[in-house]
Amino acid sequence: MTAVAPVAALAAADTTGTMEASDFSFWYGKKQALKSITMTVPPRSVTALIGPSGCGKSTFLRSINRLNDLIPGVRHEGDLRLDGTSVYDPSLDVVALRQRVGMVFQRWNPFPKSIYENVAYGPRINGIGDEASLDEIVERSLRRATIWDEVKDRLRTSALGLSGGQQQRVCIARALANQPEVLLLDEPASALDPSSTQRIEELVYELKRELTIVIVTHNLQQAARASEYTAFFFMGELVEFGPTEQIFTSPREERTEAYITGRFG
């Protein structure tokens, strides 16, 4: 599928999709969920965010596309930059940001529409109206999400009629249809059976050649298998961030080692 990636994107690509957090803190009302997070997510790689429940990894993920803005009483300090521009820059259009940053949720959430309409939903708002272009985008996105062969004969039927794993891949296709630079995955496989999980992991491995992937997971084996970098969050702090292999084989922090070896969390 790399053949269809725009040439311009490949040429300029080296840093497109770089994400940096500097001293980033986040509060829900009085409760501080993130404490001065500083890290750089390299482009076109897979970064896993791990840590016990409530450690702030989902908050971090949802800050990247500012989905947390919807919750009343939230505030932040520090900065989060995508390709050098702050996502909180007042001149930045949050709608445009979310078109560059795709997201897939823990619980698959296709719209109660046909498979085709689900995938075409994002492109439509970007003004792509003609059927031929939409057909092409829908097919390409479904192929990239490795579900084209399973659904190509039933594109006009309800997405809700598919199995959970298939619905989740339709959701991934829906996110890919916007041609995002970054894909955020919030425990995308935690509610799926092992074979669907494996397909999602293979998919992630394929996709990282084209975009930056940040994946929140509770499954340490999954983090070890599918990611190149791992960030370990604990109680709102970023305890350790580094290449996955190093985090899993020779963690520098005691807490990281304790978590990875299953002593808490």
Binding site: L70, P112, S158, A175, N178
Partner: protein, 282 residues
Amino acid sequence: MKTARSRHLVSGAMIGLTYLAAILATLPLLLILTHLLRKGASSLSLAFFTHMPRPVGEPGGGMANAIVGTLVLIGIASVIGLPIGIGAGLYLAEKKSTPLASSVRFLSDVLNGLPSIVIGIFAWQFLVRPIGHFSALAGGVALGSMMIPLVTRTTEEMLLVVPTSLREAALALGYPRWRTSISIVLRTALAGIVTGALVAVARIAGETAPLLFTAFGNQFWSTSLREPIAALPLQIFNYAISPYDEWHRQAWAGALVLITIVLIISIAARFATRSRFGAPVD
């Protein structure tokens, strides 16, 4: 200490009482329906739907003007009540906890509990008096004001059932908030909102009090919004309190038609609910 036997007895008696209460709850409707069928069905004929009322003493005739008048009034009320009610419901669901939302929620509950005759007086004061005479418009506005709080609250409830995850999915795709509200939230809840609207229509279709000094009633054919207009509930009222047997029979038939209209709308509402969140829309 109670024995197991007496516990079983009490339990059995209590269950029996709930059965009885359940049957008694539906009894009024069954009695009304059978009574109406017995009294009204004999006076029902095609002429009842197509003919105008006859003068006293002449047998036959129908309530064509009242049936059409009721439909006209429902139409006016819906044009006012549905857009405002659905819009307000959308606001309440999207801006749950703003001070404005809390006061709107409270006030619409108050409006909902307002006696319908008071709404009639209000419409009389602000429409009938300035215009100088009774009119279909004033009646429609009175009924529409009754619909607004009903539709507002059912719309709000239906929208709150739409999973947050769907909202987030659309926002995460770069949909602006207003388009998310309309194309995802409203669309997903559409069946439920339609149900709410139909229930509200059924509720106002039989209202009499707000029409007494607004639409007023009309013995003649009129569909003009500026003139007094006939309505089934008014016609039933006027005929029922008259001293003529023939008019009494007509009133029974009118009541049967009115309750049938309400039943049909209610049944339609049930069907609309059935497909909530179901099959794909397109």
